[in-house]
Symmetry: C2
Subunit: 273 residues, 2 copies
């Protein structure tokens, strides 16, 4: 299997898109009852518009075994050329992280996963050991509590914790399969992370429902080639309509966002070839 | 339902035990093939010796849907008077943490969960909102990488990150349902956390396979009444024998550890009544 970053780049360029759709099936928001029917319709309506899909484990786990069967069906519905980033924020001691990595990559069949850095190097190593899969490390998250610890200045460096995490993530990138998660809600922090991390991919949640700004996320988030920012939108696309036209509405909204991203890329001098 | 801490205290005093058994069913280590048969036998052989069981989600997830069915069976096998601490180390933005909390407490039926603090207050709130359930916050973990970030000194306090997490966890304890996870491998850090957190429960993994010392974990970990330390052992009990006598061997080893803990409690002047 090609490396994750190659598959990501290829999906982005063939669909001319930096948009990722977050698959967060919350039954109370869904226009229909069945999760797999809902997610499959969304995927079929949008798979030529995205560089990745990001299923959120929590929403499937919250429905128990039936929800995890829906996760299986959702993953089967995603075309093989579109990478799947499983949003799971896992991390534990070494042998336990190895079990989580097996679950994500061998059981569910994800191409990449999000992980929490709190427990340090040996909690992340079992994920990066799958050298053809991607590992996105939480760095500066999009939520209000992202400031509680991630922004704390460290005594030895006079830099915030999220910068220390960025520097460690660079060390963890010996297989070239590590990326970072930075919220679209904090553009200055995004700029600092991009300045340090070179051309590593950055997953950017927080556009839309969480209030992140699209233009600054792109201008601050892309690498020196105008690529490697993965702009994730979930609720704004999934729940664009609460009616029977939800899939068409999702397609319209995904097209609008993809095109807005591309307009900004053009403006910045990074058109698709 | 009584509060988690009351159920924990009651199980501890009725079994005269601060021992928790970690249920980490790794097929490569198991003496028999079927996870649910294995975990049920372990539970039946030990449930009068423990104050809690701690199933590790990762080992069940690693076996896919069949593994999660085994988790259901495992949880069903645990007597209702013994609290179940689901080791999952979850944490995400608010609406996603709410889905994880629903999964842990409503789907799987856990009495408590472990959470990661990295994403801050709003990532933990949806768990503590279940006021009758327990929430154990990762503080200073038992693994080598626990030093990478958790030990970093903060500029504003000149204290390590794990102490800042402890202070936040105290703030998060308004429902009286928060505990801390501190590795048995770092006795000095355990002492500092206990000094600050009063009588909050501390979950102590790391005895046995990870090299933590039992006596110092008890003397440094208990509260001023000699209680509220949950000494977790997984591999040492589960895999005490690789033969057909695995359940009897697990019982022997659990008895030995429980009694060693009680000998130390006696020595410290905290006998059971």
């Amino acid at each position: 299997m090609a490396k994750f970053i190659e598959r990501l780049d290829k999906a982005a360029s063939s669909n001319r898109s930096l948009l990722s759709i977050g698959i967060d099936p919350a039954p109370s928001s869904m226009p229909i009852d069945d999760i797999a029917t809902f997610t499959t319709a969304i995927i079929e309506a949008t798979s030529d518009l995205v560089c990745a899909y990001k299923p959120q484990m929590a929403f499937f786990e919250a429905e128990g075994i039936a929800g995890l069967r829906a996760l299986e069906a959702t993953i089967r519905a995603i075309p093989s050329n579109i990478p799947i980033i499983l949003d799971a924020k896992r991390g534990d001691i070494g042998n336990t992280s190895a079990a989580y990595a097996k679950a994500a990559f061998e059981v569910w069949g994800a191409d990449a996963i999000t992980v929490s850095p709190y427990m340090g190097t040996d909690s992340v190593d079992p994920f990066t050991a799958y050298s053809d899969r991607g590992v996105f490390v939480l760095t500066r998250t999009s939520n209000p509590g992202g400031a509680d610890f991630e922004d704390k200045l460290l005594l030895d460096s006079n830099e915030p914790l999220y910068i220390e995490v960025t520097r460690r993530a660079i060390q963890w990138n010996s297989h070239g399969n590590v990326g970072l998660v930075v919220g679209a809600t904090t553009p200055d922090e995004l700029t600092r992370v991009r300045d340090i991390c070179g051309d590593m991919p950055i997953l950017l949640p927080g556009i839309g429902a969480q209030g992140g700004d699209l233009e600054s996320s792109i201008s601050n988030g892309v690498d020196r080639h105008g690529r490697r920012a993965i702009i994730n939108v979930a609720r704004g696309v999934l729940y664009a309509s609460s009616g029977a036209d939800f899939a068409e509405a999702a397609r319209r909204e995904a097209t609008r966002i993809r095109d807005s991203i591309n307009t900004e890329l053009d403006r910045l001098g990074y058109p698709w070839e």
